[in-house]
Symmetry: C2
DNA sequence: AAGGGCGATGTCGTTCTTGATCATCTGAAT
DNA sequence: ATTCAGATGATCAAGAACGACATCGCCCTT
C-alpha cells in the first residue's frame, strides 16, 4: 500500500477526487512530522502511537572495514501498535 | 497529538469541517488496518513504512510467579522512519 | 511513460528492547 | 461526563536495533 492507495480510500469514503485526496494525505503527513519534530507523541487509539525517544545505542558496525563505529546520539521514532491492531493481526 | 489534532490539520488545509475531517481520518486508519491485516506493507515515501513481521520472541516473564511464560508466536507491526523524517529530527 | 532517488535487504557485534502479566493512573475517544 | 485503551513498572532471557554501504526494487515526480 502506498500513498496513492490511501488517497483511494479517502476517495471512496467521500466526494473528493484523487488530487484533493492526495492533498489531504500530504497535509496529514506534514502535521505528523511537525509534531514529531517537536518531540510530541502521536497517539491514535485503536491503531498505535508514535514517540520520539533518545538514541542510546553507542556502537554500530562497519561491515566493510570490520570495525566498530561510534554512533552519534540523537533521536528515533518509535511506533507501538495498539491492542486493537494487534488483535486483528492475531485473528489472521 | 491525537486524532482530533489530525482532523484540525485537515481542516486548515481544506474547506472541510471538523466532523468531515474526522471521517477522513477514520477512513484512512481503516484502510491502513485492512492492509496490515493482509500482511501488506504500507510504504509512505518521505515519512516511513509499516511492515508485518513474524514474532520470534518465544519467552516472556510472569512477574507474580517469577517464572518464564511461553509466548505464542504471532505477528508484530514494525515501523521504520524514512530518511526525510530522520533528518528533520536530527536538525532539532 | 520513465528515470531518479528513496526504501528494502543483508552484513557485523554489542547494547538494548521485547514480551506476558496485573494493578493503577492518565487521558483519548465517544 | 463516562468509558476503557494505553502507559507504567518489575522481571529475565532471547531476539532485535543500531550505523554504514552496496545492490536491487520500485514509488514518486517529471
Amino acid at each position: 500500500m502506498i500513498k496513492n492507495d490511501i488517497a483511494l480510500a479517502i476517495e471512496k469514503n467521500s466526494e473528493f477526487n484523487r488530487a484533493k485526496s492526495l492533498l489531504i494525505v500530504e497535509s496529514i503527513l506534514k502535521s505528523l512530522k511537525a509534531a514529531l519534530e517537536k518531540n510530541q507523541k502521536v497517539e491514535i487509539r485503536g491503531f498505535g502511537s508514535f514517540r520520539v525517544v533518545d538514541k542510546k545505542t553507542g556502537f554500530g558496525r562497519d561491515i566493510r572495514r570490520k570495525k566498530q563505529i561510534k554512533i552519534e546520539k540523537g533521536k528515533r521514532i518509535k511506533f507501538r501498535s495498539g491492542q486493537e491492531l494487534k488483535n486483528t493481526l492475531v485473528r489472521k
